[in-house]
């Protein structure tokens, strides 16, 4: 149930760490869940300095800055989602991946698990980046 003002973790390496939802796109109900596209504002940047020193040499800089308005896809949600077979899935946090207007992810790698509902909603690019999906 991601709506206006929800703070989400950003799990890609685009440079954002925490983002805030400002709008849910193309939904009549104003709650986004896994696989929904939302608009976010970057609230906290990720610092790449001491964590991976090799990153700077590879030219990984923050692609987004604090205050940027970006599109994103929800990949994990605290609110449980019911699957077709009756099972429920629930994660401990709300997380998203930043994308550009065309729907391609801005970052190049994801750090943690994503929900399988992305497959149904045709986010195969994000799924292929993810280390695992359940």
């Amino acid at each position: 149930m991601i709506q206006l003002k929800t703070m989400l973790n950003c799990i890609d390496n685009s440079g954002a760490a925490v983002v805030e939802c400002v709008a849910v796109m193309r939904k009549k109900i104003q709650h986004a869940t896994i696989g929904d596209r939302i608009i976010v504002v970057v609230q906290k940047q990720r610092s790449f300095g001491p964590e991976n020193p090799g990153g700077s040499s590879l030219g990984i800089t923050n692609k987004v800055r604090r205050g940027d308005i970006r599109h994103a896809v929800v990949v994990r949600a605290k609110k449980e989602v019911q699957r077709k077979d009756g099972s429920l899935i629930r994660f401990d946090d709300n997380a998203c991946v930043l994308i550009n207007k065309n729907g391609d992810p801005i970052g190049t790698r994801l750090s943690s698990v994503v929900g399988s509902e992305l497959r149904d909603k045709k986010w195969s690019k994000i799924l292929s980046l993810a280390p695992m999906h359940v």
Partner: protein, 233 residues
């Protein structure tokens, strides 16, 4: 002359004067309000000449009332024959979903070796995808039984509720029993960081290795799904 009359009858006296006259009204009752007894139905005379019969309305003609009404016996109530239809359907469903009864026995309350909350359960789906976790709660009865598994994947807590008798579930095994009986039926406190069990992947891996040793086969590829999938890429 009129002067003394008016003095004798004041305005209030006029009213009482007319009140005396009022009871005469009840004699003027209309014909409609007079109460009549129930209308007596006249029988059609039996010796009516047959040529007059067509003048009668159809329902008064002789032989009309002698229609015999068939009284059917009431159908046998379904509720009488099947006292507990839900149990019947449940049994039917279980015989389809779980023909051997092994899965039902795993969660049967009477079974001392059943899966309990706090145990680590390894579930494999028909697609080959394993899901493991600590049993937080067992809900429902019969074919509706479901288990809530909790695990940590890439340090992110994840809970999954799985229908035990789902046709998509290939197998369910207990990878580790909880050392002590849990005093709660639902271990929702595992969501709190201080009680969280963390990832159960190590426990599952160890269980799979032991099982492979016991059965003499090589460790199945279920072990460490995370790593194997990463390796494929």
């Amino acid at each position: 002359m009129s002067q003394p009359v008016a003095s004798r009858f004041s305005t209030c006296c006029w009213r009482s004067f007319f009140a005396e006259a009022r009871p005469q009204r009840q004699f003027r009752r209309s014909m409609v309000t007079i109460q009549r007894g129930p209308v007596q139905k006249l029988e059609v005379p039996s010796d009516l000449p047959p040529q007059l019969l067509p003048q009668l309305p159809e329902r008064y003609r002789p032989g009309r009332n002698r229609r015999d009404i068939v009284i059917h016996p009431s159908p046998i109530s379904e509720a009488e024959t099947c006292k507990d239809p839900v149990a019947h359907v449940d049994k039917q469903q279980l015989s389809i979903l779980d023909p051997t009864g092994a899965r039902a026995r795993l969660f049967d309350k009477a079974n001392p070796d059943r899966a309990k909350v706090g145990d680590v359960l390894l579930t494999t789906f028909k697609t080959g995808e394993p899901v493991s976790g600590v049993i937080m709660s067992i809900k429902g009865t019969g074919p509706h039984t479901s288990v809530l598994l909790r695990n940590q994947l890439t340090t992110i807590g994840m809970e999954m509720s799985i229908k035990v008798h789902s046709p998509l579930v290939q197998s369910m095994e207990i990878a580790q029993r909880s050392p002590k009986r849990k005093r709660r039926a639902r271990l929702y406190y595992l969501r709190k960081p201080e009680h969280d069990m963390g990832s159960v992947q190590k426990v599952v891996d160890q269980y799979l290795r032991q099982r492979a040793m016991l059965t003499g086969g090589k460790p199945s590829k279920q072990a460490g799904s995370f790593r194997s999938r990463k390796g494929k890429k």
